[in-house]
C-alpha cells in the first residue's frame, strides 16, 4: 500500500513506530496529485511549498516525541475557509484574488494539531450547488467515473480524499454539501450539530444552517478529526458551550438494543432501485448487529424544501451583499459611477446560480414580505425541529439514504422532479433542525458507483453517529475498492 492510500490512524501508527516520516507522507500525496489531479481537479490551489515546510517541522517534532493528533497528516481545506496569506476564493470570480489576513478557527485548530495543509479544494461557487459544476475555476470530476459529478458543494474536498490526493479534508454543509458528495464519492462525511464546530472564518452562505465538517476514509478517522474540530469558540456568538467527548471512544462498540428509526416519509417512490437495495442490505446488517428497526414519522418533511428555499437564499442575499468591489475582490473594470460599479461588479463577479439565489432571497425579504415569507418559514422550521424531538422518544438514531441516486453525469441535471425533491429532502431537514448527520459508504451500483447511507442523531450526539457508523462499517464489510485512476 502506498502511504497516500492509508488512513490517519494507520499513518499515525507508522509514524509512532518510526516506519515513516511526515516528509515521506507529504511526498507520496503530492506524487499522487501529480498523477491524477489534471483529470480530477480537486484543487483550486495547491500549497506544496508550505506543506513541505510544515512536514519538515513535523519531522523535527516527531523526533522530539511531540506527536499531536494530526502531526504530519496531509489535509485539504475547502476553499471556503479563510487561510491567512493564502487565497480563499469560494470558487468565485468575485473573490478570485482575495487573500485573507486571518485564519479560520478550524484552520488554527488543525494547524495546532500538526496538520499539513495540501491545498484549497474546489467547490460550487459560494457553496450554492450540489455538483461542483458552478465553480469559477471549472468542475471537479468524480474519481469513480470522470464523466460524472462528485456532488457538491464540497466536491473537491470529497474527491481529494476519494482519490488519495490527501488523507482527510474539511468541507461545509448547509443543505447536504458534505454528506451528499461523501456518498457519491464513497467516503465518510459528517455534518456536526449546529454550534459544535466554529464558523469563524467560514465564508457565510446561510448563517443559521452552515456547519464545517470532516471528510475521511473511515469512521475512526472521522472521530479523530472531530476531536480536533469540535469546541466552543468565543469568536462565534452562536457557538455552543457543550462538553466535547473523546469521539474515538465511540469507535468499535456494538449497537445491541439500539433503536434505528426509519422515517416513512423518506422511503417513497423516486429512490433508485440499486440505492434502495443497498439501503435494505444496510438495514439487515444493523438488525444482525442487534439493532431494532422502528418505523417513525417526520410529518413535516413535505415542507422542508419550502422552508429551506426561503431561509437559505434570504440569509445568503444578505451575506453576499458585502461583495461590492469596494474593499476586496473583483471590481468591474468597465464601470462608471458608484451604482454602475456595484451592478457591473456583481453581475460579472457572480455566476448564474449565485445570482439566482440572491434574487430569490432579496425578494423574500423585501418590503411587506418578511412576515409572510421569512417569518412563516422560520415558524415551520420550529415544527420540523419538533418532529425530530418527537422522533428521539422512539429511536436512538434515524437512518435514511444519503442520496436517492448515484452520481449523475456532468452537465446532465436530473429532470425527475421526485428525485430532485428527495435529493434535497434527505439532507436539508437536519440542517434546518440543527442536528448532526453522517454519511457512510454502504455499497456500489452495478456500474461501480458508490452509494451512501445516512444516520441522523439528536443535538450533540455525534458520538452516537460515530458508534453506529463504526459498528456498521465493521459488520457490513463493504468491499474496499479504489477508483481506477
Amino acid at each position: 500500500m502506498e502511504l497516500h492510500q492509508l488512513t490517519i490512524h494507520e499513518l499515525q501508527e507508522k509514524i509512532k513506530e518510526g516506519k515513516t516520516s511526515a516528509e515521506q507522507i507529504a511526498e507520496s500525496v503530492f506524487q499522487r496529485i501529480d498523477a491524477v489531479e489534471k483529470r480530477v481537479h480537486s484543487y483550486i490551489r495547491l500549497m506544496k511549498d508550505e506543506a513541505m515546510a510544515v512536514a519538515d517541522k513535523a519531522d523535527k517534532d516527531i523526533k522530539k516525541g511531540d506527536i499531536k493528533a494530526l502531526t504530519g497528516i496531509p489535509i485539504a481545506l475547502k476553499d471556503i475557509v479563510c487561510t491567512k496569506g493564502i487565497s480563499t476564493t469560494c470558487g468565485s470570480h468575485i473573490l478570485h484574488n482575495f487573500v485573507p489576513p486571518y485564519d479560520a478557527t478550524v484552520v488554527e485548530k488543525l494547524r495546532d494539531a500538526g496538520a499539513v495543509f495540501v491545498g484549497k479544494a474546489n467547490m460550487d461557487e459560494f457553496a450554492m450547488g450540489s455538483s461542483t459544476e458552478t465553480s469559477y475555476f471549472g468542475p471537479t470530476r468524480n474519481p469513480w467515473d470522470l464523466e460524472r459529478i462528485p456532488g457538491g458543494s464540497s466536491g473537491g474536498s470529497a474527491t481529494a480524499v476519494a482519490a488519495d490526493e490527501c488523507i482527510a479534508s474539511i468541507g461545509s454543509d448547509t443543505g447536504g454539501s458534505i454528506r451528499q458528495p461523501a456518498a457519491l464519492c464513497g467516503i465518510v462525511g459528517l455534518k456536526p450539530t449546529y454550534g459544535r464546530v466554529s464558523r469563524f472564518g467560514l465564508v457565510a452562505f446561510a448563517s443559521s444552517l452552515d456547519q464545517i465538517g470532516p471528510f475521511t476514509k473511515d469512521v475512526e478517522d472521522c472521530a479523530i478529526m472531530m476531536n480536533v474540530l469540535a469546541g466552543y469558540d468565543p469568536r462565534e456568538s452562536t457557538s455552543v458551550r457543550a462538553e466535547i467527548p473523546d469521539y474515538r471512544q465511540f469507535v468499535g462498540h456494538d449497537i445491541k438494543g439500539w433503536k434505528v428509526g426509519i422515517p416513512k416519509e423518506y422511503f417513497v417512490e423516486g429512490i433508485d432501485p440499486e440505492v434502495n437495495s443497498a439501503i435494505q442490505k444496510t438495514i439487515t446488517v444493523l438488525e444482525k448487529s442487534g439493532a431494532k428497526i422502528v418505523e417513525i414519522s417526520l410529518p413535516h418533511t413535505q415542507y422542508c424544501l419550502a422552508v429551506y428555499y426561503i431561509i437559505a437564499p434570504a440569509e445568503a442575499s444578505s451575506n453576499l451583499a458585502r461583495y461590492d468591489g469596494v474593499k476586496y475582490g473583483f471590481r468591474s473594470p468597465d464601470s462608471g459611477d458608484l451604482l454602475d460599479m456595484y451592478k457591473k461588479t456583481r453581475m460579472q463577479g457572480f455566476g448564474a446560480e449565485v445570482k439566482r439565489r440572491i434574487m430569490i432571497g432579496t425578494y423574500a425579504l423585501s418590503a411587506g414580505y418578511y412576515d409572510a415569507y421569512y417569518k412563516k418559514a422560520s415558524q415551520v422550521r420550529s415544527l420540523i425541529k419538533r418532529d425530530f424531538e418527537e422522533a428521539w422518544k422512539k429511536c436512538d438514531v434515524i437512518l435514511t439514504p444519503t442520496t436517492p441516486t448515484p452520481a449523475f453525469k456532468i452537465g446532465e441535471k436530473t429532470d425527475n422532479p421526485l428525485q430532485m425533491y428527495l435529493s434535497d429532502v434527505f439532507t436539508i431537514s437536519s440542517n434546518l433542525a440543527g442536528i448532526p448527520g453522517i454519511s457512510v459508504p454502504c455499497g456500489f451500483t452495478s456500474d461501480g458507483l458508490p452509494i451512501g447511507v445516512q444516520f441522523l442523531a439528536g443535538h450533540f450526539e455525534e458520538g452516537k453517529l460515530i458508534q453506529i457508523a463504526s459498528a456498521y462499517e465493521k459488520n457490513a464489510k463493504i468491499e474496499k475498492r479504489r477508483p481506477k485512476l
Binding site: N97, F98, T238, D340
Partner: protein
C-alpha cells in the same frame, strides 16, 4: 398572483445586480416558484409557533471591552481593488 417584470427589476436593483432581458425572463419564472413554496407553507397553521432563529438556544454571548490589536492600515487595504494612500477609493455617487 405572479411577479411582474417591474417587480423583478426592482428586486435586481435592491440586490445591485444588472440583469439582461433574457435573464429577466428566467428569473421571473424562478421567483414565481417561491410563490409556490409560500402556498405550500400556508397550508400550515403556525399561530403561536415561535419562529426558530437558532438551532440551539444560546443567549447572552458577550465579550469584554478589551482592545485587541487591529490589523493596521496596510493589511486593511491590501486586498482593495482601488486604494489611494490610506483610503479605499470608489467612484462617486451621481444623483
Amino acid at each position: 398572483m405572479k411577479l411582474s417584470s417591474q417587480e423583478v427589476e426592482y428586486v435586481a436593483h435592491l440586490a445591485r445586480l444588472e440583469i439582461t432581458d433574457k435573464e429577466k425572463d428566467k428569473l421571473t419564472a424562478q421567483l414565481n416558484d417561491i410563490l409556490l413554496y409560500i402556498d405550500k407553507l400556508n397550508e400550515l397553521d403556525t399561530k403561536g409557533v415561535e419562529p426558530m432563529s437558532h438551532a440551539i438556544a444560546v443567549t447572552n454571548a458577550f465579550r469584554e471591552d478589551n482592545i485587541v490589536d487591529s490589523i493596521g492600515t496596510e493589511k486593511s487595504l491590501a486586498n482593495a481593488p482601488d486604494a489611494r494612500g490610506e483610503f479605499f477609493r470608489v467612484p462617486k455617487v451621481i444623483d
